[in-house]
Symmetry: C2
Subunit: 204 residues, 2 copies
């Protein structure tokens, strides 16, 4: 692309460095910003700078946080003895979005994947074991994707937590609400039959 | 979405204000920036600020420019007597991308559209007429989209330029290279037959 402006070219290159943003989209965004008042662009840039300069990791659960501890860890109305183990920050947001969970979290930062060279030491596993050993946790819920890497990680964690008093559970697997039996994979359908639950009447 | 961080929320809101970026995409971009070093984010923000603070409009052709006149207007190797009239900056980039045009441009900033309340006075028409009256221009090429609004604009401009010595032309309409006759609209196909050109052998 021929930008006929060094300033535009640099701004487009900056946007095009973001994931999923190609050069055409980047140009569209930059031309949008050109049309905005300088104050709007100033605010945009300052929001980025402020975020990156001040964002930190929660010392307890490794969630992104504005302070030493995140708002979830410091919320005393939450069940401090229940910890949900997830791969990343987006999983926390997804679970928070359900409004069904009132415990704490522990963010691993990924799953064990020998192919990608991610071993247990690359993940926030030691800090989870320490939290369990401190005796504050009653139950750990594994909310990790049911892939081979995910299952490996769950297996590794459950072995690590065996010597503590912590109960380990995993989120329920089964047919999604609105899911079509016909199109469900065999493993999920099979497990959903094996792990069937008593029908509690039409009221549930 | 529950961000559990004011900083992240503000950054997501900033990105989500851009066209075509939803809140989920905005979050993905922000989490990408969180993972980058502060220097990378600093550079990103500075590129935006520098661009918006210093970008200006070329005084002659209304192209975006780093200086009083844009790099196209100041390029003395270009034919200064040929002006291509386009709606916007992106059209300039598209035409420059072809490498087939070595004249100057004039950016209208849109087309006449009574429905959207855009009249001739909202567009850079007076400055085009002044350029033509100054006697520097030999030919004006209308490279405007063949919509009703576009055709209206071309008609209006050609009337305005009638009293000058400027020759007015429009870009050729017809079947695209690689286009399928069967799927061409009737207007385009009809015009392409009426405006047929002599075949110059297989060498063209």
């Amino acid at each position: 692309m021929n930008f006929s402006s060094k300033l535009i070219e640099e701004a487009v290159n900056a946007f095009a460095g973001l994931p999923g943003i190609g050069r055409k989209t980047a140009l569209r965004l930059v031309l949008h910003l050109v049309k905005q008042s300088p104050e709007v662009v100033e605010q945009f840039a300052q929001a980025m700078l402020k975020m990156r300069r001040n964002i930190r990791e929660c010392e307890r659960c490794h969630n992104i946080s504005d302070d030493k501890l995140c708002v979830i860890c410091t919320d005393r109305r939450r069940d401090q003895s229940l910890v949900c183990v997830v791969e990343g920050i987006r999983d926390v947001m997804a679970i928070e979005g359900t409004g069904q969970y009132r415990g704490l979290y522990h963010i691993l930062g990924g799953v064990i994947s020998p192919i990608e060279g991610i071993g247990p030491s690359d993940l926030n596993i030691d800090s989870l074991v320490q939290r369990a050993q401190a005796g504050e946790i009653r139950e750990v819920i594994m909310a990790i994707s049911p892939t081979i890497e995910g299952e490996t990680t769950i297996f590794y964690l459950s072995k690590k937590l065996r010597d503590t008093d912590v109960e380990v559970s995993t989120i329920a697997r089964g047919i999604s609400f609105g899911g079509d039996l016909e199109y469900a994979d065999e493993l999920t359908l099979g497990r959903s039959i094996v792990a069937r639950v008593p029908y509690k009447g039409g009221g549930e």
